[in-house]
């Protein structure tokens, strides 16, 4: 057990070390004045002036329209896949509803997959659709966050930066260099990177094994750096080719944390409020450690059913023990629990074990992390979500002490609060609304793989994952039906843009305000007290909204499991 704690401590220590390095680099990328040669060529092709200022509306429109064009391009390639070259396995094109779902999924940084990669996508699609959309959705998220931070920093101005310059620089200076280096480390550890599609092996017992390979490492790198999460293979990072060693597992987790944690540092630097950045990072870390300390014992303790069948699940020197259904030997309980918490905290959605087979409490942790959606959160948007809750916190505290709430030296007024509430409420509305719809939709329950409360957990997990732009699944649910493809596709689009755009509007609105000097009545927001209040508001608002739904799924299932009731 102590070695497991050491692994967790190592993860957090390395993450903290990378915050400063990556945060400094990110700040330089977002505040740069110069243009690199490939960037200048790009601006010329696009016909844009990279130094032209944009207000939040123009920035938001450019972001949404360019995302729409990229989604459309991805959709077209998926529909034409059968006629495009370079696929020895001749995989067919995706159906219209599936291609819509896939394109929506990857442009919104969700990476929900209704298909299984090795049987459904050619190597060309894995590169020109999946890797492409993974990179640009991450860049859009970081760009949106950059505009948001600039809006908070501005005084009596409208300029929040230039979308094309942000987007281009993030790709050339941050994502591509980091991903190229990381993908080579991945190959060294055993992740394939080739244009070949498959190899036939003759096993020691004489059977034939078709081993599907492809450009996996380059996809894995951006998948985790960009908190995307969609796998090359059907089982994602549980596949030995996607995550061959405990070291790649650790690197995956560090990669997922890299940008969301560095953004808190970049925020502190760009606003000259470094303590505020650390206060936000502290909120992330405290919540993450809290959730991990629920996840790990639940999985380590395992399933009482195993013990009743005289199956030995006691951890020891000879075996990791615990609930090993759906888990891989090389990760055991510690590396799996950490990955479950990281991938849903940073809303990546990559999985190194099957979440459907986690214990009820072990499965509730990732579900609840996605419902909160701001413990680290996806690249860019997670930070924006955290700030929306920070504004909510100063508002609630302002109500209690009877003062006009202020945040970062700006007065928070009715317009900002309405927009914040829109962003905060769109999330549960979308999750619970679609879950309720699917629960009564004729035939929708035929997709469940498990009966009883676990079937309901599969359903709410799907819409939570879609709305939170996570992409992990209780994968027993057969979501490749027109109903699920369409509704989950809509949930992903709503979850992305109904939180991003209102918060950009908040930033645009705050940018035009003058700065008010701090007084005795100002609530300091860079203190441990505020961090605690913030966590309290996040957990209470998240908990109260979703608790009834959780009671119907994982909570009742936990009671059934201890009572040895099966479905």
């Amino acid at each position: 057990m102590s070695i497991d704690i050491v692994q967790f401590a190592l993860l957090l220590a390395l993450m903290a070390g990378l915050v400063v390095v990556a945060g400094r680099w990110l700040t330089r990328v977002l505040t740069a004045q110069n243009h690199w040669l490939p960037e200048r060529l790009g601006y010329r092709l696009l016909g844009v002036d990279p130094s032209a200022p944009m207000d939040w509306k123009r920035y938001g429109i450019a972001l949404v329209l360019s995302n729409a064009a990229m989604m459309l391009l991805g959709y077209v390639i998926l529909r034409l896949q059968a006629w495009l070259p370079f696929d020895a396995l001749q995989r067919p094109a995706q159906t219209p509803d599936l291609a819509f779902n896939t394109a929506a999924s990857f442009i919104t940084n969700t990476n929900w997959q209704s298909y299984s990669g090795e049987s459904s996508l050619s190597n060309l699609s894995q590169m020109a659709v999946i890797t492409f959309l993974m990179t640009v959705s991450a860049a859009s998220g970081i760009a949106g966050c950059a505009a948001f931070i600039r809006g908070l920093a501005q005084r009596e101005a409208r300029d929040v930066g230039n979308y094309w310059a942000d987007f281009t620089r993030i790709i050339w200076r941050l994502l591509l260099p980091v991903c190229l280096v990381l993908s080579l480390v991945y190959v060294w550890q055993g992740i394939p990177q080739t244009l070949a599609s498959s190899t036939d092996a003759t096993t020691l017992e004489g059977a034939t094994q078709h081993i599907v390979v492809g450009p996996v490492a380059s996809l894995e790198a951006i998948k985790h750096i960009g908190t995307n999460g969609g796998g090359f293979y059907g089982v994602n990072a549980a596949h030995p080719f996607e995550d061959p060693t405990p070291l790649t597992n650790l690197l995956h987790m560090l990669a997922m944390f890299l940008v969301p944690s560095a953004l808190t540092y970049a925020f502190g630097r760009m606003l000259s409020r470094r303590r505020q950045g650390w206060a936000f990072l502290a909120a992330f870390v405290v919540m993450f450690v809290g959730f991990l300390s629920v996840e790990y014992p639940a999985e380590r303790h395992g399933n009482p059913m195993f013990t009743s069948l005289s199956v030995d699940q006691t951890p020891g020197a000879m075996q990791p023990g615990g609930n090993m259904e759906g888990k891989e030997m090389r990760f055991g309980i510690a590396q799996t629990s950490a990955f479950v918490a990281v991938t849903t905290a940073a809303t990546t959605g990559s999985v190194n074990a099957m979440h459907d087979s986690l214990t009820p409490v072990g499965g509730m942790v990732p579900l609840f992390l996605m419902m909160l959606n701001d413990v680290f959160g996806g690249v860019g948007v997670g930070f924006i979500n955290l700030v929306s809750f920070a504004i909510l916190t100063v508002f609630l505290v302002g109500m209690m002490i009877g003062r006009t709430p202020e945040f970062l030296g700006k007065k928070i007024e009715a317009r900002e609060m309405k927009l914040v509430m829109l962003a905060v409420l769109a999330h549960p509305f979308c999750i619970l609304g679609f879950t309720a719809l699917a629960a009564v939709w004729p035939g929708a329950s035929a997709s469940f793989a498990n009966a009883g409360p676990h079937g309901f957990s599969e359903l709410i997990y799907a819409y939570t994952s879609g709305t939170a732009n996570n992409g992990s699944a209780f994968a027993g649910l057969n979501a490749n039906t027109p109903f699920y493809n369409t509704t989950i596709g809509l949930a992903m689009l709503m979850g992305r843009y109904f939180t991003l755009l209102p918060m950009l509007a908040v930033a645009g609105s705050l940018a035009t305000k003058r700065s008010v000097p701090e007084s005795l009545g100002t609530l300091p927001t860079a203190t441990p007290l505020f961090t605690c209040l913030l966590i309290f508001v996040i957990v209470v608002v998240g908990g109260l909204t979703f608790l009834p739904a959780l009671a119907l799924g994982p909570i009742v299932e936990q009671l059934a499991m201890t009572a040895s009731q099966f479905f």
Binding site: E118, S119, V129, G234, A238, P246, Q313, P320, M324, K327
Partner: protein
């Protein structure tokens, strides 16, 4: 305002598809095949010209003189490396309970264990990928007697081979101690050749 966005919106889609969807993965492929030719093509193992598997992908063994891997749920046949998959059964699933019970009984029978002997959990649970290359040391030692009998070897020799093939935690800290089934069986084959008359 929106009309001026038409060109950058359309051009950026195609341009960045070419940069991030083609140039980046192709550059990575070029570098990877030069620097790490073995790993980049899938860490394939060969006997002469024949590919016999990949060192990171599990393969199926069911004959008594080889060590057996974990249960696999890759569609119709186990360890199908073209269709990774898991059971996705939840902890209160009656089907999971029945499957685990059957596997435990089968494991005890083929390894000549007592009817209530404890079975290592990894031997009766399906992995996440269906392609898990490893088993626990407890699982390997539980199979040692069967393999030794089938190969007319002393059990302590097989146990010693298991200990020699055991993989520790990576860098002493990361992951779990385990044993690669394919590597173990390959070692077994070469050891048999040396020790048998």
């Amino acid at each position: 305002m929106s009309l001026s966005l038409v060109r950058p919106v359309l051009v950026s889609a195609v341009l960045f598809m070419a940069i991030t969807g083609l140039a980046y993965p192709l550059a990575a492929t070029g570098l990877a095949t030069t620097l790490f030719p073995r790993q980049s093509s899938g860490s394939l193992l060969r006997h002469g010209d024949t590919v016999i598997g990949s060192s990171v992908i599990g393969q199926d063994f069911h004959t008594p003189h080889y060590f057996h891997p974990r249960p696999s749920m890759t569609g119709d046949l186990p360890y199908n490396a073209a269709a990774s998959g898991a059971s996705n059964l939840g902890p209160t699933s009656a089907k999971l309970r029945d499957t685990v019970r059957e596997r435990a009984e089968a494991f005890r029978k083929e390894n000549h264990l007592a009817a209530d002997a404890p079975v290592p959990v990894d031997a009766v649970t399906a992995s996440g990928s269906g392609l898990d290359p490893d088993i626990s040391l407890a699982n390997a030692h539980a199979q040692a007697a069967r393999v030794a009998t089938a190969r007319h070897l002393a059990v302590d020799k097989v146990d010693a081979l298991i200990d020699r093939q055991a993989l520790g935690r990576q860098w002493g800290v990361l992951g779990e101690p385990r044993i690669n089934v394919l590597a173990l069986n390959l070692a077994l084959d070469s050891a048999s050749i040396r020790t048998l008359p």
